[in-house]
């Protein structure tokens, strides 16, 4: 009973925080816009034309993007943690984001550079292929090494290799590409537009719904594969779905905002600790909301800390996320002893 109350409180707080973060992201910036002006700009013909353009063309898509992709990262991380039955797993740390980044960079330099043709769909597909490539590699390694720390080390190495290849590409790319490619490969929401938001909303929304439908299987996975199977879960199909969904979600993030660190790993951990539960049915939506809050707040800091200079968002998410992971590692080793 007490747990039920806790869950309800946590959800109320998360929804409030998400609302506050979203509004702050729209109001705060180089040009401060009051909430009433925002409402005027959005819902009536009155108000300042300049504010309206800033809001609809820049801040609204960016806020929506951080909301969607932050949630997607957290859910993707949660899925990977379930797959590897390892609480310290996430798309960034396992090199999956970097794999996606590499493929997007290749596509940008080779196809966009040569033909000038570019589409959201193409970038998402490239990122998805890269994410699957990196994930497949990690799965192969995980078959040989069962040790948690070794697997992470392998993931980090995969990340380095992919980042190195991306850097080579940047070095050989034309000047005009470099600026774009460089800021994007560090992770940034600065280029968000409404078309991208629509794409992300469809992919992330669809992905999220499918993950929710998997929640019963994920619930059974908590007792390990053998028991999951004996409880009627088709483990093989389920594992493929988990990998596909986590790749789609992290690929979407990488395609639109570049690789973003630590949200995928730190948020599900925090949520689990706060909820005192690992039940997927509540953990998945809670992780999504918390990931959104984390991402929106980080993006706000990335924009405002040294305004007008914008720092890359991974600098902010790492600053807050990495200490959380260190705490996790300490807690885990303590728990083992």
């Amino acid at each position: 009973m007490e747990n039920k109350k806790r869950t309800i409180y946590v959800f109320i707080i998360l929804i409030l925080l998400a609302g506050i973060a979203f509004i702050s992201n729209i109001c705060i910036g180089n040009v401060e816009i009051s909430l009433s002006d925002v409402l005027k700009a959005l819902f009536s013909e009155e108000g300042n034309e300049k504010s309206r353009i800033i809001i609809t063309n820049i801040r609204l898509p960016r806020s929506a993007m951080t909301f969607l992709l932050g949630g997607a990262l957290a859910v993707s991380g949660f899925l990977l943690q379930t797959y590897f039955s390892n609480p310290i797993a996430g798309p960034y740390i396992l090199g999956i984001s970097s794999g996606a980044k590499m493929m997007v960079a290749i596509v940008l330099v080779v196809i966009v550079g040569k033909t000038g043709y570019s589409s959201n769909m193409m970038l998402v597909l490239a990122a998805f292929a890269g994410a699957l490539l990196a994930t497949g590699f990690i799965i192969m390694i995980s078959k040989v090494v069962r040790n948690m720390a070794t697997l992470l080390a392998a993931g980090i190495m995969v990340g380095y290799i992919c980042s190195a290849i991306t850097d080579f590409l940047i070095a050989f790319a034309d000047d005009s590409d470099i600026v774009n490619l460089h800021s994007w490969s560090q992770g940034s929401f600065s280029g968000a537009n409404m078309a991208g938001v629509a794409y992300s909303a469809v992919i992330v929304g669809g992905g999220f719904l499918l993950v929710m439908l998997l929640s019963k299987s994920l619930d059974a996975f908590r007792l390990g594969e053998t028991y999951a199977k004996s409880m009627g879960i088709n483990v093989k199909v389920c594992r493929i779905l988990i990998i596909m969904l986590s790749s789609v979600l992290s690929a979407c993030v990488t395609a639109f905002a570049g690789p973003i660190s630590f949200i995928g790993i730190a948020v599900p951990f925090l949520v689990r600790e706060v909820l005192k539960s690992s039940k997927p049915l509540i953990l998945i939506p809670a992780s999504f909301l918390a990931g959104s809050v984390f991402c929106m707040s980080s993006d706000l800091l990335a924009r405002q800390l040294f305004a007008p200079t914008e720092i890359n968002i991974s600098a902010v998410t790492s600053l807050f996320g990495a200490p959380i992971v260190i705490i996790m590692i300490i807690k885990n080793s303590h728990y083992r002893n």
Partner: protein, 251 residues
Amino acid sequence: MRLDNVSVGYKKKIIVRDVSIEISKGEIISLIGPNGGGKSTLLKSISGQLSLLGGSVYIGKDDIREIPLKEMSKNLSIVTTERITPQLMTAGDVVLAGRLPYTEGFGLFSENDKKERDKAVKLMKIEPLTGKYFSDMSDGQKQRTLIARAICQTPDILVMDEPTSYLDIRHRMELMDVIKGLAGDGMTIIMSLHELELAMAVSDRLLLIYEDGNTVCETPQNVIKKGLIKDLYDLDDKMYQKVLTYCSIVN
């Protein structure tokens, strides 16, 4: 349940061969034999965790390879020797997980599911543990919780690999009473046991698994009468006499 010429093992290597037995509803069958003889392998294979290398296993009229997983999970539940590490799950949660096969969609539990959980918890006498995190419990407490989970799945057939491991003498005896009770209610029990005296006392039949992969299925009385234990464990006369005395004292 019927085993028809069943051969089991890993990869292509057969460990236990040509087992053919008919197990009736409510029967208690214990697998006994030397370490590494293939007891676990046989249990894993007849519960569908491992592919059979030969023969077929039937539940009712259906080959287990043809039974859909969900249907199978209502027919048969397992207790393994594998150690599991569920995060932030209480003993109550673990037991309730046994009801997942009966849930739809998102896996929400009904009142009936919770009733079944309470019944299983009571049967295994783990009421004081239900609020405790699984990861914080002792090995024996974990074992009793996992058995309660398997019972909560309300199967027709309960397959347990060394269910007495980690249990102290009192809990072992209590478990044997629980097993007899379940079998009395019509649940078929197939388990591996290391304690000969318990196996003799509780089982309707013993399935002896020899080191060379052959098997014999007999009632406990016949096993003693025919002196099968001696060969099974490769005992010399002196040791065999000791074992017999020990078993007769207990029973």
